[in-house]
Symmetry: C2
Subunit: 223 residues, 2 copies
Amino acid sequence: MDIALLGGTGDIGEGLTLRWASDSPHDVIVGSRDPERAKTKAREYETELDSRGLDEVSITGLENAAAAERADVVVTAVPAYHLTDAVEGIADALEPDDVLVSPAVGMKRDEDGFHYNRPGAGSVTRLAADAAPEAVPVVGAFHNLAAGRLSNLDTDLDWDTVVVGDERDAKDTVIELAEAIDGLRALDGGPLANAAEIEGLTPLLINIARHNDGMHDLGVKFQ
Amino acid sequence: MDIALLGGTGDIGEGLTLRWASDSPHDVIVGSRDPERAKTKAREYETELDSRGLDEVSITGLENAAAAERADVVVTAVPAYHLTDAVEGIADALEPDDVLVSPAVGMKRDEDGFHYNRPGAGSVTRLAADAAPEAVPVVGAFHNLAAGRLSNLDTDLDWDTVVVGDERDAKDTVIELAEAIDGLRALDGGPLANAAEIEGLTPLLINIARHNDGMHDLGVKFQ
């Protein structure tokens, strides 16, 4: 399968790219608004993987819309405040048999800590669904992965990611992609309307990391 | 230490009572609006513990205010919609060196699943703090414990609970009480203003249990 990561040059995009390239048979396309930056980052990721003996992995770098055009699954690894623009910018490149995946979370920080900044639409994942063409299924996933550990291939993961969406096939595709990453377990969170409680977990992970010695780059396991 | 569980006859109250009675040296007082019901439940819990060889454990049952009067730590194990009334009903029994602990979460259910019903005050834990006398420290904890597994002493726990509060000593007292339960790790979540993201995790646990075969009575581990 071809996976495009819009914002693939950012930290969560880097982590997902490296993990899929390292652990799965899928082809990863790094997307960026700037195609030169996408290509430079793709080469950086290849060099990182090559240093680990993964010298046959090829990562493509393309402008976001071109990346989406080529992909079966498009992951919008962009900040929440860029999400609507990013989805609208690639809308023409999406086909009904593609899947759009939103990992973005909106947060605000005050003197007490980080807090979930719930959009009026209900969730950030819902913003992605609202911006996408109606025929394209949108799935929420990968909201609670700490980018630092995700992109450090020296560290093993032992995390869950909760997947929400209203179309069974699209959700199953994303569950399969998530489980292709070693140490990541995908759990079904139900319909897309259940996304807010998943997104709200990310500021909690940051607050816990800030207040407990020796805890950082936290993920979550449900048990 | 003497711990009173207001609403100690309910499911989360039962679980905390049994675990503290079984795992810790602390004395537990079961509170209820109906003192006869409190006594009956306290005897039931004693019988349950006796059947496990814990025949020296004594659990007291009292009307809520009398339970709070005798306790050092008061846990309001009541539904969110009863919380303000429950706290106001025992306010005169609280001293400044007591600690009030709120585990309640507000949820609503619709066709998609369970959702966090965030109060206008910011969190359910904040409602408890607003209802308590100003000099009494309020701590949020035990929001994400599945009552079924908690009250089944045949099952080992391997869960975290996140503790929030604005007063260091009170928070440390609750962290110590939480860690006195075998298999429960207490994590500091920062000030009480960070409670909403903890409370919002409970509907997510229920949604995951509903959508994944073989998963039920879920808790969480941060790692």
